[in-house]
Symmetry: D2
Subunit: 386 residues, 4 copies
């Protein structure tokens, strides 16, 4: 495989991030397989044409089935709303296309499993968009855990705090509707935390959760783009059918204790995606709003100079950093996607499964649903039940 011909469905927030990643990869990672931005798919011909021009796609289609049917496409990139992931993925797998799907993989665990099975049976490559794994600072955390430099893990605590829908007049967008989004803060934000937990600490054994919808009705949205939307106070109102906040406790298979919180009602937090890991030999802390930094503590430091170090993950010793700028020159949110596409193309060239893939999507979905069940049934739920 010398090149990767991509057909992408969706071109809003995630679509823009993916497009930028495909386009930028060859410049900073010239050794990587080069993605071809073959065709962009959207239902509105005019809008998708304009988007394709802006984002750098060679062609457009308005029906995703046509996209999948094309011979000149190797990979289907799915970043349409979550409710259509499954149908597209199944069709893509059937057509023998590799699949890169945004998270959450599907609206339900059973859908997610079906997608995984389809991809495995079709022997296509599959990847899921847990992009935060690809921050250099997160990679450093992974390296410290995996190499044993933090020792046995005792605690993982994580929170993803946002405040974008706190205004009760913020309109009822698709992300607030269960039938399209699947869930609210839980699936949107918590899913990232769960994946980071899996990545950094390992499997979760059991969970118990709690959730709340603070604002139960909102004016129906008239227009939305990315995370922003327009509405009017006089618009008719509809029910918010997803959670505004979901918290849960978890016990990991390795005995570590976990605490998770996802909320869209934390005033002052635009996007605080943060975790801390405490091990027997040291600790690390991460906050996505300062995504170039990892705070690191080692018990073994000399006793008069023990303290959390603010490590700026921009040195040659840090993954991806040398491809970018000199030490101290930071990168941003979008770079996580570029590194993600690097992994995707490397895996394809090396004929191995990309990381993270649909298995990780299924695992994440199992925890998401176990938490929901634990909330519904007000009891601890083991993941193995699911």
């Amino acid at each position: 495989m010398k090149q990767l011909r991509v057909g992408m469905i969706g071109y809003k927030f995630m679509g823009k991030a993916h497009s930028n990643a495909y386009r930028t990869l060859p410049m900073f990672f010239p050794e990587a397989m080069k993605p071809e931005m073959t065709a962009l798919c959207g239902r509105n011909k005019e809008a998708v044409t304009e988007a394709a021009a802006q984002l750098g796609w060679s062609d457009v289609v308005t029906d995703w089935k046509d996209l999948i049917a094309r011979d000149d496409i190797d990979l289907i990139d799915i970043n349409a709303p979550s409710d259509v992931h499954k149908e597209i993925a199944l069709a893509a797998a059937k057509a023998g296309k590799h699949i890169f799907c945004e998270k959450p993989l599907a609206l339900t665990l059973s859908d997610a499993r079906e997608m995984l099975q389809a991809a495995e049976e079709a022997k296509v490559a599959h990847m899921i968009g847990f992009n935060y794994r690809f921050s250099p600072a997160v990679k450093l955390a992974k390296k410290l855990v995996e190499s044993g430099r933090l020792g046995k893990i005792y605690h993982f605590r994580a929170w993803f705090l946002q405040d974008w829908v706190m205004d009760p007049e913020f309109p009822l967008v698709w992300r607030l509707q269960k039938e399209i989004a699947g869930s609210g803060s839980h699936g949107d934000l918590g899913a990232h935390l769960i994946d980071l937990a899996h990545y950094l600490v390992g499997d979760i054994h059991e969970v118990i959760g709690m959730s709340e919808t603070f604002i139960k009705e909102r004016p129906i949205a008239e227009e939305m783009t990315g995370l922003s939307a327009k509405g009017s106070k006089d618009a008719p109102r509809g029910p918010v059918t997803v959670d505004d906040a979901t918290l849960f406790l978890a016990r990991f298979a390795n005995g570590a204790l976990g605490s998770f919180e996802a909320t869209r009602f934390a005033a002052g937090h635009r996007s605080t995606n943060s975790f801390e890991i405490n091990g027997s030999l040291g600790s690390v802390k991460f906050d996505f709003e300062r995504m170039n930094e990892l705070e690191v503590y080692f018990n073994s430091d000399e006793e008069d100079v023990q303290g959390f170090r603010r490590v700026l993950a921009t040195d040659p010793a840090h993954e991806y950093a040398e491809a970018w700028w000199p030490p101290g020159h930071t990168i941003g949110f979008e770079h996580t996607f570029i590194h993600e596409i690097l992994e995707l193309t490397n895996a394809l060239r090396e004929e191995r499964l990309p990381q993270p893939n649909f298995r990780d999507g299924v695992k994440c979905q199992a925890v998401l649903e176990a938490v929901e069940r634990s909330i519904d049934e007000r009891r601890w739920v083991e993941i193995s039940e699911m």
Copy 2:
């Protein structure tokens, strides 16, 4: 009541903090009723005599019953280990003495209730040592919540992280033995978080928890002072009978969601007693390791300059601050006790109940035990059950 004649039982970590508070109060708060440090009580005559000389107590006794029997004492200050709180408090109440008791009030909720009842029946003043309420930054948080400047409260999350017993060879001290300490991180650290939650957000409706003892056996301690201790690797080992870490979720009566974590296994955290409150109009964050600071966010700030403010609570606008040093000159841990004694003496003079008192101790104990029950029975427990 013109003066407050104090008899104190215990003279280690807390005893030192209390002594310093009694001694220092008149210098910085000259308007306050002046405490007389009448007698110090400890079982070892030589040791208590030395302590009294150092800490500034006029007399010593070796049997707390003698202390309570004295006519020249108005207040009994109990900072002996938790397992003797009840017996002393009951006797003190019976003798008509006011009582200032360190937390936790007792080892069990029923004991705590008995103590409250005894104090109320005896019509003595009673106070409990939740000293963190008395940080100027915490007082500021209280003021912002109470005045409505944070709006309706959605979230309270709190963690008290320490690392002092992470070394598996750290000896088995009384704080690690259930029969003396009642519980481990939960009662020692979590109790403070619960009290802050009560103080800042209000009553808790229901809880569910999880706990763990990571190191199950330790060498028996040969000697201990405050939080430090000496042991040897060859010492016989005994079981750790308290929790190393306890986490729980809570739903407040007012609808807010709470998350609590207390652990002694968070490497790099000497004493991170931290909370965050998110309301509909703003948020606050506190970390005791930077106890002079409160981070404050208001939704109503102009849109281009919204952000958490680092407020140094040392200005005349901040409670207690003017009694101390000019703005920007910080105070420390011990000052929380001085402010606590200020409240105690002011309440006595004003013939009102000090805040916090045994009712708060009982409320805290109810939550502590509800969490323990929720752990034992693996289910949500309502506080009203207790």
Copy 3:
């Protein structure tokens, strides 16, 4: 002018940043005039050909005179080493090409003035690469100063701290040779601080400085790329002829006091480009290692909640932010260049001079040289002398 056909000279650190900016601009700022990456110039045919392929340039030339002679080029982008800026810029102006030149404009003030005069006489557009102006957080600082929200400015203090040549065995690269680089930390790092001072506070009236070369001899470099280089301990040594650190005091025309420090010997600082401004109504602080943040203080805040706010300049209220990602999703170093090219293309379309331009380069050079003179003559030097 509908398009901007660019010919660029140089393709290392800055060349990569510029290429990325030209390439990325249309995707995120689709309204902007679109740059065409027409030709890349470098002396080594093979290397420049490879670079052009990687960076996205359509053609290559090996002699910059040929580049300037081409009809199909509107703008010459000069990011070759500083010692050749002048000759190229003069030729480009003569040929009627617009010019975008990296800083420092030239090795001497008289050269810089000659370049400005040439560009003005030729009536071509000219811009200089002071990219830090284009951080959204810096733009916010500018807005706060300019709108009067900080009041009268009393203090500007700035430091650009790096540590990349602290190792005495780091080789003697061109940036450490006066005849190529002009100066060391002063022209490389201090120049950025001076430009920010001009931009944010205004003209400097007089200066006095101090400098030092801590490591006076180094092994001659065998190879260098960007800021990194290879050498060997056994390599012959040559003298370092530039400053490792330069500090100076300044008095601004408006009465503000300035303090500047540029050094490559600040252990732990990879690239701390930081400033603080104190005005009669408030203050701002910036640190490039956290380039998405501006700390902002207002005297007018209510007296119990005064404190520096950590403003994350990623909201729609912040310049450029809406073109990128949702609030809380940060951008990086390279984005300053994209915003710089946006200004360049907008200015060309609006037929106005881009900001900053050669006049700013000359002003900066005047201060740089005034500082050097003040060091040589050990006296205060007024900028008007220069």
Copy 4:
């Protein structure tokens, strides 16, 4: 010498801090020689009597000459306004009393030298109140420098930023009058920075400075206490005769470069007394507003985890810490004075000169005046000139 009988002159801000230190020392440092608070001196009988009662002094006198004449006093503690330091100190020395004098030692270098000479000739102990040396975090910095763990020192930069007189209507208090205060921010704040520089880096070779009085006239104060004061807008105005801000560059005898800034016009800075030291092996940063912390960086850290560590100087490994509270429990401003008195009493018992003493006061004064001369004469001034 078994006890230290103290007579103190002055009882405002510094007098309170000293009194608290004398009173608290025996409780936390029981091994230390115990100070007796024998007599307090102030001109107003009623006021000094009230102060003595509050602060714990046994007796009062209204004429400092009477204090010095008393047989029952070993040490004269001078914290009266700076203009009377000299006369008192000379008399105290003549009377054979040990002397503890607040900084600045005197209004002029020649006065300071006279005081040092008098103390040395009288063979009395002498100490000067540079209290910031006694922060545990500063002690840690000293230890790291002295033990060579930071290597050769390249840079010292320090700033003491306050904002207490920014309001143009803040009254004309004695600290703003040259004849009483000697100088403004320079002698009040800069003096502390200079002493820290001497303590941590060594002798200063030469300096050049700049200063400004931003608000040149103010309403005459009607009343003042500590740093606060009352005035009225209609009060007659008088000229401010001291500097609001003074900056200077310095070259140390060991080749390090220094940068100093003291200002009372830095909005948002209540008392930012901050320094950074960069050495060939590492760096440290300190900010008094977070006085329990020292940021520490070592070049020798493993390359993937290099970063400034936030060391909380409350561990047993840190000077003074064990006398106070468990790790993580912080101390405040006033504790620096307690440690200072510990040094004073230890030195007296050990029959050695306390550190810092009048020699340090003279050295500091020499730099202060050299800076002033450098400002007046607009040239570099060597300290050896003074």
